[in-house]
Amino acid sequence: MAHRRDTIAPIIQCERAVRVDISTQLSLFSTRFLGIFIEAVSFLLLGTLVSGLIEVFIRKEDVARMMPKNPFAAIVAGSFLGFLFPVCECGVVPVTRRLYQKGLPVAVGVAFLLAAPVMNPIVLASTYAAFGFGPVLVGRYVVTLIMALAVGFLFTLSRGPQQLLSVNALSTVGGAAGSLTPAPRIALIPGLMQAIRLASGEFFDMGRYLVFGTALAAGLQTFVAQEALRSVATQPVLSVVAMASLAFLLSVCSTTDAILALSFANPVNGFTTGSIITFLSFGPMVDIKSTLMYLGVFKPKIVLYMVILPFLMSILIGVFLNLNVRF
């Protein structure tokens, strides 16, 4: 009798899982969705607020002048510049473009562009909130640094800015006329108002990606059979490719992606740690939204490099971690 119960048990359980009615499913989806959204939205709001303040109060020419003269030191400094300039992936492109107009070397800007969305106190805080201090947090920062430095150094071998940058990012040609003269200092109260208005616009711009990503994560946990998901999630190679592709498609802001990743890392879904680290280091560098924005700064061929190099590197590293490291 006991034997028989064992063999039929999974079938009964499947039936039970399906039988959850629509209103219960909607309520489950809503609880999971709001959990992720509420936790993530505060980091997103903080991120947009800080980038609004930077946009209004920090003069980019001061930063361009502060960078070390040695090209290698400059690339290293560029990778860490994000901690001074806490911008997430959407804010980083306009800032980089402006730095280029102020004469920042191309390779340094590339390292900054790739690393800054992660080298950011708010991103550090949200990653810590989600995963605590452990392999995911350390892995995210180490892998991001490796990739940003590697691509940055690669760009030191390349030719001059004229071959790499799109026309409106070159200081010699100049995009807007006003951007060549130092920006005037702005008074505190109007400046704050302006920063909040910018943040508010960016919140709506970025918020939609958060809503889509959250809906997907909550939907996968609610409507998709966990067994189907697990068959991908636990594969050392497939899980990494899946998470890298997902990162590209979701385009979710780097301030909030750790909270989303949490639902994939949940033992119920069981995505490999390597795939989570890939998601958290590749996603902030390259996704649909940032690729489109890169086209406003770089020539199309260069954008292709900036998409493909991090994609391949992050997959290699993620698979390597899965196969060689016990977390």
Partner: protein, 254 residues
């Protein structure tokens, strides 16, 4: 254009109010771990400030010239919507989704129906057992403490005869004998519902049928080792089971 700016302001204010409301009613504990409540406060306040600034801007600016500091506008003009343009209709609709879910769908914490097929655990392998839990008196331990204790040892006999007093919701699936077994279960949440994990302690009682799936109960009894699902495991033999209200904080925080 001004309609969208007004809608944008309204959405910010409403989202901010919604967040603060969940904090006041305590509904927030259905969504995120308690130690992050301050983040929700912060988000609520920022949203209210953003909404107020949007309203002030709309009221004080001439409708003909809604653009501000031209410096920013020229800088960002061709970089995809990073200007002080009103949000597009799609963005407004999308950002209304969380608000709609929060207001229209009755708030309910994760319960028995959230546990999928292999979704509940009686032993922790990832976070591993924790011997610290042994310093807590047996009657004081919650579901999480017991599961940690079980995972910290290989000898289930160790717990035989120990008393326990547990609050949780009733969970059972096909592995359970409906007449005599159910699980007193809780979700643990360390950040938000995304990382929710269901844990449970198996309860043995003569009238298990009286207790329906998802009902909140308080179970008092003593542990004995029994066979469950082919494994020898500590089972709480109930001395008393009573219905109880759902706790203010339905999840446990590891």
């Amino acid at each position: 254009m001004r309609t969208r700016l007004w809608l944008q302001a309204a959405l910010e204010l409403l989202l901010g109010l919604y967040l603060l409301e969940t904090l006041i009613t305590g509904e927030i504990s259905f969504y995120i771990a308690e130690r992050f409540n301050w983040l929700a406060v912060l988000a609520g306040v920022i949203l209210l400030v953003m909404g107020s600034v949007s309203v002030i801007t709309l009221l004080t600016e001439a409708p003909a010239d809604p653009q501000l500091a031209p410096r920013t506008v020229t800088l960002n003009a061709n970089l995809m919507g990073h200007t002080h343009q009103p949000a597009r209709w799609l963005m407004l609709v999308v950002l209304a989704i969380p608000l709609a879910l929060g207001i229209l769908v009755p708030a309910r914490p994760l319960g028995a129906s959230a546990i999928g097929q292999s979704g509940i655990t009686t032993s922790l392998t990832v976070a591993a057992g924790d011997t610290n839990t042994f310093s807590i008196a047996p009657e004081q331990r919650n579901v999480l403490d017991w599961v940690r204790a079980f995972s910290a040892t290989t000898n289930p006999e160790e717990f035989s005869g120990q008393p326990a007093d547990l609050i949780g919701f009733v969970y059972r699936d096909a592995r359970f004998d409906e007449a005599s077994e159910f699980m007193v279960a809780r979700f643990t949440v360390s950040c938000c519902t995304a990382d929710a994990i269901a844990l449970g302690v198996i309860v043995n009682t003569e009238n298990a049928r009286e207790w329906s799936q998802d009902a909140w109960v308080r179970v008092r009894g003593r542990f004995q080792t029994r066979q469950f699902d082919g494994k020898v495991t500590p089972v709480l033999v109930a001395e008393s089971i009573e219905p109880t209200a759902m706790p203010d904080r339905p999840y446990l925080f590891p």
